[in-house]
């Protein structure tokens, strides 16, 4: 796109366009793990996560990517999870995080 010519990115790249229709793959994940809808973004899962000390993995953010339709971001981050399940022990809303991550990491482009 035009922006890169001058060595910087178009600011729009970071902007989330919520008018884009939710991809079916995402509907599928939400359908198979409805507890994702309960998340309140408290961040407890991320605070617990060992992988988060070394990578960008933040589960609540994965869930937000999902709700905003940002498929590429999900795939990249979900791969860092070790499926240890610590996050799930602390989640105050009882989100089935490990199953959700398994579903997310199997999303195909």
């Amino acid at each position: 796109m035009a922006g890169t010519k001058f060595g910087f990115f178009d600011a729009n790249v970071r902007s989330i366009n919520l008018d884009v229709e939710t991809p079916e793959t995402i509907e599928g994940v939400l359908h198979r793990e409805p507890s994702l809808l309960k998340c309140i973004g408290c961040g407890n899962c991320a605070a617990m996560c060992t992988a988060g000390h070394f990578t960008d993995l933040r589960f609540y953010r994965l869930n937000l990517y999902l709700k905003r339709g940002l498929v590429n971001e999900i795939r990249k981050e979900a791969q860092n999870c070790m499926l240890c399940g610590k996050c799930q022990l602390t989640c105050p809303r009882g989100v089935n995080i490990r199953h959700a991550i398994l579903l997310m990491s199997s999303i195909r482009p």
Partner: protein, 351 residues
């Protein structure tokens, strides 16, 4: 009121909203002569404007009917279309003055003047009054009641609605630092109601904090997420503008992701906060009920723990949302507590 029986005490209640109606009911049941005054033609205050109530979606009519039946008594007199503007006291008797010169005497006075909704025109960036698709939470209630029409083509498909929390509250720019307390749960109530009316619609709530303080409110929030799939985005809307297809284009920061978001909407609902209905001013031994100005505060009780229903002079009581944002169950309980205090005052139990 000159030929009054000395054993029977008279109370003047200013405002016939839920708080005033409840106090009138309890006091009249206890042999007090009630003079109930409202600047409007009807009783019910804001309750009369709402369609269904949180937390249990009950039709507001049900509650209104009970409260209105409570005042169908011989010892209650209702003065409509009378705005009280002055309260004074001489020789133990209270005297109320209205804008049109009526004078009402009593042995005690209860102020139950409630609140006004914040004027959304002041938040110019949201375009209220400019774009018809921008409405307030108060407007939406009247649409739900069928008194006004939808500001979009209601047979359209894939409708998208946005709800903005904290409009006129928690905002130094508007002069209101406080939280209006009931608008988060009102947003959830209205979002659910919109989904019931338009099951195919997408509803976004733009919030700063979700303040679900009451019993059952947090559960309602969770139900909004899971059963109705309402989307909650933490971040305040920066602006609304017309889109190319004559809808609304809005921008907000999705603060949990740290990224800007934009979307097109068919209707934007502003959760207007509560501001005081009157601003009290003490002048020459009288209390004036002025129109509130920018940053006016609610009426302060003498002691927030121990004298929640008293205001500065013996025999002058305050009740309901005139003291600050409150829900209907809260103001009804408060009005009952106030009534006890009035009775105690008449029985010389408090000075």
């Amino acid at each position: 009121m000159s030929q009054k029986n000395n054993n029977i005490k008279q109370v003047a209640i200013i405002g016939a909203g839920p708080a005033g109606l409840q106090a009138a009911t309890v006091l009249s049941q206890n042999q007090v002569q009630v003079l109930l005054i409202d600047k409007q033609a009807k009783t019910g205050g804001h309750l009369e404007k709402w369609s269904h109530l949180f937390p249990d979606s009950r039709p507001s009519n049900e509650i209104l009917k009970v409260l209105q039946q409570g005042i169908q008594k011989e010892n209650i007199q209702f003065f409509k279309n009378k705005r009280v503007s002055k309260i004074s006291k001489s020789n133990g008797q209270w005297e109320l003055g209205t804008d049109d010169g009526l004078v009402i005497n009593s042995d005690a006075v209860v102020i139950a003047t409630g609140f006004n909704t914040f004027d959304a025109h002041q938040k110019e960036e949201y375009g209220y009054g400019i774009y018809p698709a921008v409405v307030t939470s108060e407007n939406l209630e009247s649409i739900f009641k069928g008194e006004t029409t939808w500001p979009f083509n209601s047979s359209g498909k894939d409708l998208r609605f946005g709800i903005v929390h904290c409009v006129g509250s928690r905002d130094a720019k508007c002069g209101n630092l406080y939280c209006s307390k009931v608008c988060c749960v009102t947003a959830v109530k209205q979002a659910i109601e919109l989904k019931k009316k338009f099951p195919g619609a997408t509803v976004y709530c733009f919030y700063m904090d979700m303040r679900m303080f009451g019993t059952g409110y947090e559960e309602l929030y969770q139900e909004a997420q899971t059963k109705y799939n309402i989307q909650f985005i933490r971040g305040r809307l920066s602006e609304a503008s017309p889109s190319q297809d004559n809808r609304l284009q809005v921008k907000a920061e999705d603060t949990l992701l740290g990224r800007p978001a934009k979307l097109t909407l068919d209707m934007l609902v502003l959760m207007v906060g509560m501001i005081p209905a009157v601003s009290l001013e003490m002048k020459n031994d009288a209390v004036y009920l002025n129109q509130p100005a920018y940053g006016s505060s609610f009426i302060t009780p003498d002691d927030v723990f121990l004298k929640m229903n008293h205001h500065q002079q013996a025999g002058l009581f305050i009740t309901g949302a005139c003291k600050g944002p409150a829900s209907i169950p809260e103001v009804l309980q408060d009005a009952k507590a106030t009534s006890i205090e009035v009775l105690n005052y008449f029985n010389n139990k408090i000075k």
